[in-house]
């Protein structure tokens, strides 16, 4: 089992009072809670902070934690002999393999045993003798990172989940599960999906938890994604802008002809209806071409001569309103 320094996580001393621990937790929760934080890795950081608080804010758990001794964070360690039988109240006996679970799960299990009155005889520590106690499985949240192409066509992803649940022997264990899910087309950045029954297994007839999936779409070299709409930079020449043109633009389904009207300006937004991402229901999003007029960087002598002629012939003053 890997050691985690809960005092360091909460940025408090080993002799911090209960009030100090609470204060530190509240300060850090506001900073790192994934619902309110924009900090990088907020979710992982908050998980440790919450674990640390759950352990250190509870007198008995804190005592049990302190008895683990001091180790470096991340260091592999085993609880000292007799530790489990002293603190786990029969949930896990000495010598039980703790390698598969982490420190947070261990302390969560201690809390659950106490909430259940503890002292349930092994191997059914979580269900006392003769009781018909059942528990729903844990919900699980995961993130699927898709390419824009995957989102457009729909895709299948394999999720490797590590779900803490309770084995048939009543002990806590880390279950590895591979779940293959079909992501229907129309999922977009920030979309949330749910799979009932694919979270942790329920115990003793309790229903399985649900799997919640958050969709992330990787940035695309060409298209920018907003909701179900796509944005594409479309450079055109000054001549195409003035005279109009029929040009080809890339879309998610190949190249499509687009009419540039005479007098098109930089920043104009040309909408190609229905060429964005499909929606699960209803009309698909749109593709917007953002026009930028690109001036020649190295005009030939002939171009320069023609532009000079154009300049002399120009009869519109674009700065008239600034006069």
């Amino acid at each position: 089992m890997k050691y985690i320094d809960y005092y360091a996580a909460l940025e408090v001393d080993h002799n911090a009072s209960e009030a100090d621990v609470k204060k530190a937790y509240r300060r850090l929760a506001r900073k790192y809670h994934p619902d309110v934080s924009k900090e990088k890795d907020a979710e992982e950081k908050f998980k440790v902070i919450a674990e640390a608080y759950q352990t250190l804010s509870d007198k008995e758990k804190r005592a049990a934690y302190d008895q683990l001794g001091s180790h470096r964070s991340g260091e592999d360690f085993r609880p000292p002999p007799g530790w489990e039988s002293r603190f786990s109240q029969g949930g896990m006996s000495d010598g039980v393999d703790l390698g598969g679970i982490d420190l947070g799960d261990l302390f969560e299990a201690l809390g659950r045993q106490r909430a259940r009155g503890g002292a349930g005889p092994r191997p059914h520590a979580f269900a006392g003798e003769g009781e018909t106690f059942s528990m729903p499985g844990q919900d699980f949240e995961a993130t699927a990172q898709l390419t824009l192409e995957d989102a457009f066509h729909g895709t299948e992803v394999n999720l490797d989940l590590t779900i803490p649940d309770i084995g048939p022997d009543g002990n806590l264990r880390q279950a590895h599960r591979n779940v293959r899910v079909r992501i229907p087309k129309g999922a977009t950045e920030g979309q949330r999906l749910r799979v009932p029954g694919k979270g942790g297994a329920g115990f003793n007839g309790g229903p399985s938890g649900a799997l919640y999936l958050n969709i992330r779409i990787a940035p695309h070299a060409r298209f920018r994604l907003s909701g179900h709409d796509l944005y594409l930079d479309l450079p055109i020449t000054p001549a195409e802008a003035v005279l109009g043109a029929k040009i080809e633009v890339p879309t998610m389904e190949g190249r499509v002809a687009l009419n540039i009207r005479p007098g098109t300006r930089s920043g104009h937004k040309l909408r190609m209806g229905g060429k964005g991402l499909p929606q699960p229901r209803g009309t698909p999003g749109d593709l917007y071409c953002i026009i930028s007029i690109v001036t020649p960087t190295a005009p030939s002598d002939k171009e320069r001569a023609l532009y000079t002629e154009l300049a002399a012939a120009a009869h519109e003053d674009p700065r008239a309103h600034l006069a």
């Binding site: 949330r192 999906l193 749910r194 799979v195 907003s226 699960p280």
Partner: protein
């Protein structure tokens, strides 16, 4: 290999029974009802307004809202009023961020 599992979108079009919020969030019915009183949840069909919340159907997006409410309750110790306030502010931030992102998408990138 087994067939892949089909996922359900959490959105405004898919409806779920209000009582699904209990299991999804772990919140007590009492707190969920208080959140209803703060305007956080409402029935998807206005015709169900006359019924008690336990008989409502709500948008499946409400599952996400209820889970977020639960995190605010457990992790920050907020009561219904605090949760409702935080949720409304988060909604506004989400809307503003979407708008900002949409506007940023319209700015041409510096070519090369």
């Amino acid at each position: 290999m087994t067939d892949p599992v089909e996922l359900h979108f959490l959105d405004d079009d898919t409806l779920v029974p209000f009582t699904d919020l209990l299991g999804a969030s772990g919140l007590a019915m009492e707190l969920l009802i208080q959140l209803v009183e703060h305007g956080i949840f409402e029935p998807a069909h206005p015709s169900e307004r006359g019924l008690v919340p336990a008989q409502w159907r709500v948008s499946s997006h409400a599952l996400f809202v209820a889970r977020r409410a639960s995190r605010l309750h457990v992790d920050f110790g907020l009561d219904a009023a605090g949760i409702a306030l935080a949720l409304s502010l988060m909604d506004r931030i989400d809307a503003l961020e979407r708008q900002l992102h949409e506007l940023q998408c319209q700015l041409p990138r510096q070519p090369r």
